[in-house]
Symmetry: none
Subunit: 225 residues, 2 copies
DNA sequence: CGATAACATTCCAATTTGCTACAAAATTCA
DNA sequence: TGAATTTTGTAGCAAATTGGAATGTTATCG
């Protein structure tokens, strides 16, 4: 889960980022419009927190740009108490929510969470991949009309694969996605094997083929043949 | 879906309307009691958001008026943190829900949605879900022709589940819905277990199946198989 | 054909989550 | 007010999940 914080007050920006990181997000910062714009081009963020009053212009143009080029990214406005008009414009422009400074960090966290959830499944009632059908809202999985009850990690794993089909996912990437950035590269990722195994077993009870192809020395690929 | 926002703080009012419009509602505003009263006479709103502290009097009288003349309109109170008594009075007067300022816009949205859903539910003479039959008007519940006497919270819980069948409800969502937005996320929600247990016990005296399916680590789902 | 690394499977202890019973607090009602 | 009921909170036990160690199997390469 990747977040860009666009905020020129260095103190707020840093404390915010360290809070968000303890909550398991990966964060980057931009202190002005120019830098924010560049970062947006480079990476896909799940959510962008935008301060409206920036040294080199209003955050509004950034919101506009985001909407045009990265429509799936969530946008939360952070603004001082006096700039109500900007907030209205921001919401018109397509921002998803706003917070007035000063705000409580856990409040921000809960907004980010609910925003990301809403965005992710917007319009998507179900995902179909071969014999597998997923209903993301309820985290339910069916294989050839049989429901398969998955644990949280198993479901997260399956969702990660189905949203990245054809891509080879290394176990490091899987670990990072499912367990966050705090995982140390010195750690062993062998527990991923266990989860893959459990997921395979549950799906294969009703599926006729194995959907997780291992590429020796590299990773796994989810493939519908 | 038409909403009237009765709020004298112009900034909040405008931002709110702007947000609600991006969510697909049609909105109108009234900045005082008089104007609100006139608008109510003119149009049928699906929902009215009422600030209690208005310049020309308390929003309570408006709620009273609404209940008498437009009983099918939903009412949500918006109030400052210190006017707890007003909220209680408002709910007694017939308001359907309330929120404390400052509040979370998506939270308001979800309450409007659930209010509208509930309204639909109330219009019905009785609801049948499997072996369970509910008469919302008297808050009476029958299981296979046997009446089951529920306490208030038990009934609210059952109603929440039956108006959201197939959806997984976390205990946080349950707590928030049944106890309002003053619940702190730092609080423990374990008492929800007690209510679930009691409700299950009472229903299972006459029912042949358990209607509350627990999804480990997530929440509960009301399901008629 | 070994040697080695990568992957698969089995198993289990630690942890988290849920259930139940019961105690305490709050509320209702006679 | 005081008893009865309802609601909330707590503790102990039960069940499920999870990470990872131990062990077995397979692929790759010199």
């Amino acid at each position: 889960m990747k977040i860009l914080v666009v905020e020129d007050e260095a103190d707020l920006c840093n404390t915010l980022i360290s809070y968000l990181e303890t909550e398991g997000y990966r964060c980057e910062k931009a202190e002005n419009l120019k830098s924010a714009s560049e970062k947006i081009d480079l990476y896909d963020y799940d959510c962008v927190l935008v301060d409206i009053g920036l040294p080199d212009g209003s955050g509004l143009s950034l919101i506009k740009e985001l909407k045009q080029t990265h429509s799936e990214t969530g946008i939360i406005i952070i603004s001082a108490k006096d700039s109500f008009d900007d907030k209205i414009n921001g919401l018109d422009q397509g921002a998803d929510d706003y917070l007035t400074k000063p705000f409580h960090f856990p409040e921000l966290n809960s907004r980010i969470k609910s925003l990301i959830r809403r965005r992710k499944f917007e319009g998507k009632k179900e995902i179909k991949m071969g014999e597998i059908r997923i209903i993301p809202e309820n985290r339910e999985v069916f294989v050839n009309a049989h429901q398969v009850v998955l644990t949280k990690k198993e479901y997260d794993l399956l969702e990660f694969f189905t949203t990245n089909p054809q891509r080879i996912l290394t176990k490091e990437a899987i670990a990072e996605h499912l367990w966050g950035d705090f995982i140390d590269s010195a750690d062993s990722f062998d527990f991923v094997y266990s989860h893959i195994k459990n997921l395979r077993k549950k799906l294969n009870e009703y599926a006729t083929v194995d959907y997780f192809q291992n590429i020796y020395g590299t990773g796994y690929k989810f493939e519908v043949k």
